[in-house]
């Protein structure tokens, strides 16, 4: 393990008193970046290991954020401004081993390099539910069935939302709870962000295409956070988005590539079918499979939902059962961006006090 970068960095940060406390953060999404910034502000030397080529995580893919519809890039830029020049990010890293010593952790990568730090923060986030798994919705089979993530890409590129034929959609259906609250795919939990994302995207579609009819198929509208209910009201009041209570049961393609959707209109108690030009699946969170490897390497525990369990859900929700290993963000389950940022700052505080009390 001759590749420890500890020595040169210590020279660089020679204003610190004794040995530099070093934190290795796994994941350069908003959780990892926020925690890195907060730790750097406290004078700690931080290294982030990221599996993708670019930092930013999922937020880098989103156009505008709920509920205020501010650009996602604005939030990301702010977080990066805090940590810029003070935090080192290694992109394209694949971890294949972690060795826990008495005082530190050594992370081994597939490339054969290794990094050692005194604390480890797991901020490796989540993955979006693969919509193909709900085969009755026809994602990957019918061209006009797309996901909420693809809608963000269209908006981010400043393009118009079009059907596969390149025409303007006259009627769009947003489908809630895709991959969430669904025992069939093994996900009993609610993904927390899809309801409000659906309302936000419904408004954005109406903004872009005022003539387009927008329908939202939901089981309940979970508008739990601040300004969410107001956004829902705005969608009804200002934009005429129509909400039909019923879960989509199946989707089939008509010869002209429009889609026939079937649901129960639970408020009339009768089956309902409707032809739409575009179906948007609001995909939920699933645990990141790569995180599962870290869980095994470190001997951490997960809940039935597959997300990592903190050592105490109320008092120590950034701590794990392994001293020196911390958690931040969506590794613990579905979370909004604002919740993730707050959680990452809390994790940074926990790490800071832990490093200070270390013998």
């Amino acid at each position: 393990m001759g590749n420890r970068w500890v020595a040169p960095k210590r020279l660089l940060f020679s204003n610190s008193i004794k040995m530099d406390p070093q934190v290795i953060i796994i994941g350069a999404g908003i959780a990892g970046l926020t925690a890195a910034g907060a730790l750097a502000e406290k004078g700690h030397h931080v290294l982030i290991l990221e599996k993708e080529a670019q930092p930013g995580g999922h937020v880098a893919q989103w156009d505008r954020l709920f509920p205020s519809r501010r650009p996602g890039s604005e939030v990301l830029d702010h977080i990066r401004k805090i940590m810029d020049g003070r935090v080192e990010i290694k992109p394209g890293i694949r971890i294949n081993g972690i060795i826990a010593h008495d005082q530190d952790f050594t992370v081994l990568t597939e490339e054969g390099t290794s990094y050692t730090g005194q604390a480890l923060l797991i901020a490796s986030g989540f993955r979006l539910f693969q919509a193909e798994r709900k085969e009755e919705y026809g994602y990957g089979i019918y061209d006009n069935v797309i996901t909420s993530a693809e809608v963000e890409t269209v908006f981010k590129q400043g393009k118009k939302l079009l059907t596969s034929k390149g025409t303007l959609p006259q009627r769009v259906a947003l489908i809630h709870c895709v991959g969430s609250r669904d025992e069939k795919v093994g996900n009993l939990y609610c993904s927390k962000v899809c309801c409000v994302t659906g309302v936000k995207q419904a408004i954005e579609i109406k903004e872009q295409l005022p003539q387009c009819e927008v329908f939202s198929f939901y089981m309940d509208m979970r508008m739990y956070d601040r300004h969410f209910e107001e956004l829902y009201f705005e969608a009804q009041k200002q934009w005429g988005v129509q909400f039909i209570r019923g879960r989509l049961s199946e989707c089939s393609e008509a010869p002209d590539q429009s889609l026939i959707i079937k649901t129960e209109d639970t408020l009339t108690g009768r089956p309902l079918r409707m032809i739409v030009d575009l179906v948007i699946l609001l995909v939920g969170f699933v645990p990141e499979p790569e995180t599962g490897k870290l869980v095994e390497m470190l001997g951490l525990s997960t809940g039935e939902d597959g997300f990592i369990l903190p050592s105490d859900e109320h008092y120590n929700d950034n701590l794990t059962t392994v001293p020196g290993v911390f958690l931040a963000g969506a590794v613990k389950g579905p979370a909004t961006i604002s919740n993730t940022i707050a959680d990452a700052r809390a994790a940074a505080l926990q790490i800071d006090s832990w490093l200070k009390t270390k013998p």
Binding site: F233, K237, L267, T268, R270, P271, L272, M274
Partner: protein, 110 residues
């Protein structure tokens, strides 16, 4: 017609595209607050007519949305226009005007 000893069951489902939505458009145009409904059922729970008949104003609204005109016509006859539904609505929907407008829409398009 020859009796073959069986009947054909009509499709019970709502075919949204086959329905006439003129009444819905008329009512929404004249009473846009109907768009604010969240289907909570407060109106139906408090409804005077609903205590004695099967009248369900929450359902009547949904029938209007789906273009189920025939059923809607039968339903509306039960309303007494007492306005209690409007007092209890958490979204502030002007339900008395909605009901008046549905009746007018029935005259116009029904």
């Amino acid at each position: 017609m020859k009796d073959f000893g069986f009947t054909v069951q009509l499709d019970h489902s709502i075919d949204y595209d086959a329905k006439d939505k003129r009444m819905m458009r008329y009512v929404l145009y004249h009473e846009p607050s109907l768009d604010w409904c969240i289907g909570c059922g407060s109106c139906t729970a408090t409804c005077s007519a609903g205590q004695f008949t099967l009248f369900n104003i929450r359902m009547a609204h949904t029938l209007l949305r789906r273009g189920e005109t025939e059923k809607l016509k039968q339903e509306l006859k039960k309303c007494m226009f007492c306005g209690k539904c409007q007092l209890t609505c958490p979204r502030g929907v002007n339900l008395r005007n909605v009901l008046l407008r549905i009746n007018r829409a029935i005259e116009l398009f029904g």
